[in-house]
Symmetry: none
Subunit: 204 residues, 4 copies
DNA sequence: CGCTAACCGAGACGGTACGTCAAGTCTTAAC
DNA sequence: GTTAAGACTTGACGTACCGTCTCGGTTAGCG
């Protein structure tokens, strides 16, 4: 967060003069990445193609983004999506339903789905990127984990809950459908899924 | 499982003479694929490298496997793994626990995990392969779905169960952990996961 | 021309039983070669393509013709052209004019021109074929040389004529135009070319 | 002429940035091409082999030369041979004798002969290259044609001379011997060939 | 207000793998 | 028991991107 920041958070650039980064180029690259991602899919997206499409030198892309994954991640977080919702409805059922139906809503935005699937793929192929990706995933898990802890504080859930696994139960089925594509993600099913989930978590 | 079969099931080759396919070459390719998969990961595996490693002509690989995904899929199913277990313990809890702990046991075989993750990645990048992959996934889902139907027949589970989603609850968290790698897969947790799952499925 | 014979003159086939050669296959190959030669030119003609086009196994082609050049040479002599004319008009001017205008007439048969040019090209690239080709060329040179000798006998030409070079003067310009293609070959110009040639050969 | 120029004469590259072309790489490629041409002949020369031999990336070769023919043509004109002689002795007999004996002298340089024969072969096989080759041939024809025109101006030859055919009579026999190889090219025979030729051209 | 550092574009470089194609050899099945 | 079918090894093809590397030419800000 914090500053306007460059894609990779450089802790302190220590500017001592020199030409300043072109915002035009940055936007052009991110837009081109998003566009090509939508048009051809993650696998067919190349840095060379993005540079060409953005009318930007290849070296400019490489200067600011060290991998295809980093670029798409940036395009995803800055261009594709804006904000992670962090609902606070007072009950865990409400919070989770809101969160999950929001997750499932991705089916309405094919570009986002394509980006997410591509990022997950990249994480499997490039260990360096996997680390970044894992951190991003972790940031989203934390949102859910916080909901669950709040629920425990309100005695809605048992104190000995396996938070890790409970969080997996939220994200796992979502990713599984997204990646395999055997069945659609339907926001309307969110509440029934949550009910079932909470039943399980509350124990017999 | 029909015959010894060739990688892509050709409905009937109609041999009318000519040199027969070299079983040596076939095994060498599959073994090389498995070996390189283990050594370098799916992303770093190339058809060129497999051919080199197997002491086989590149065109021979291309003749029989039309993509990297198809090759690894074949290597996975023929070399890496032998048999999908299909437990029948008499109770759904037993069946699922057996099945899931078996799933989680993949953590003991890094090669298998790498293969699975690579296949999932490929499915995101190559739509043509995705179709094959989806079929394979479906075949594994069917095993679980059958268990659930048997459970319904035994009145262990309600008849109005959403089989699709229930099956997702079995595989989703597994794949999610496998792919993200934020936490280990522990076979010992299988029974508690199953208990929680069944609690949820049985309704309030 | 002896027997039904195979393209390369085997001194004695000595059949001792076994499957007989398919005449169908032989014709199909020659026809396919001629057709592809016409359609795509010598450079784009491949043994693989001929076999495919003739619905014949590649090895069948290889058994009977040991190179692309040999095949085209065969197709040329058996399919494309029938007979070398050997005029005898009584005067060297008549003989040469007849022969040369016949040569130049090739411009009316693009297939023949293509074949000849391809054979010459092949001879530059494959030393083994060059030897065969040279023999064939020699056989055509002999026809001209014989005319010149007859002319000397009739005192139409000086006895100390350099037969080798004189023959080159007949074929050289022909091949040069055929190969370079900078100007057309016109049969009507044959007689003037011959007149000029004889002027030169007869000395001052 | 003019400048050091790049292989394909670009009338003005208009540098607008970008790394400059490596002269080292250019020379290495041309030298390697000349060397391999000498060692193995035109047919056995491959772009892949040239790149390997020159310690240069294959893509660098393809960047600058669009075909094997273009490469060898360049190697031939820049490395193998330096300059076309353009004699001016005052008489057409002298000019032609000088020119032709120079032509025939190629027999002393096997590499040049091999290159020429290979280029002619390529022109038969690759229509695109044929065009380039024809232009090069034309440039050499022009030298001879100019000599003949000068001779006409000096009344050494008749004004109604067929320049096209006369030029063919100079080059045709040369190429014919070079390509067929049925007899050697002997520079000493140049003057007698010229005498004969002029006899013919001057008419009865 | 000129220096200077960092940017930007262009694009060549050595690489690697791609997927295709044809060459020519070898083994098996058919006649 | 020869011929024909077809899988095999080999190796070059030409293409596409990779990531790195010069270049020439801006464009701040600092001194």
């Amino acid at each position: 967060m914090a500053t306007k920041d460059s894609p990779e958070q450089n802790p302190r650039p220590v500017r001592t003069g020199g030409r300043v980064r072109s915002e035009d180029a940055r936007r052009a690259v991110l837009d081109a990445a998003a566009e090509l991602l939508e048009a051809a899919g993650y696998g067919a997206l190349t840095i060379e193609g993005v540079a060409r499409h953005a009318n930007v030198a290849k070296s400019t892309v490489y200067r600011w983004w060290k991998s295809k994954g980093a670029l798409v991640m940036d395009a995803y977080t800055h261009t594709v999506v804006t904000r992670v919702p962090e609902p606070d409805t007072g009950t865990v059922a409400g919070d989770l339903t809101s969160f999950i139906s929001d997750l499932y809503r991705i089916s309405a935005y094919p570009l986002r789905g394509r980006a997410l699937r591509g990022l997950m793929a990249e994480a499997q192929l490039d260990p360096a990127f996997a680390e970044h990706f894992r951190q991003w995933v972790q940031s989203r898990r934390t949102v859910v984990t916080r909901m669950l802890i709040a629920a425990i504080d309100r005695d809605e859930l048992p104190a000995d809950l396996d938070l890790e696994h409970a969080t997996d139960l939220v994200f796992g089925p979502f990713w599984y459908r997204l990646l395999v594509g055997h069945a659609p993600l339907d926001p309307d099913q969110a509440s029934s899924h949550v009910a079932q989930l909470l039943n399980g978590l509350r124990g017999s």
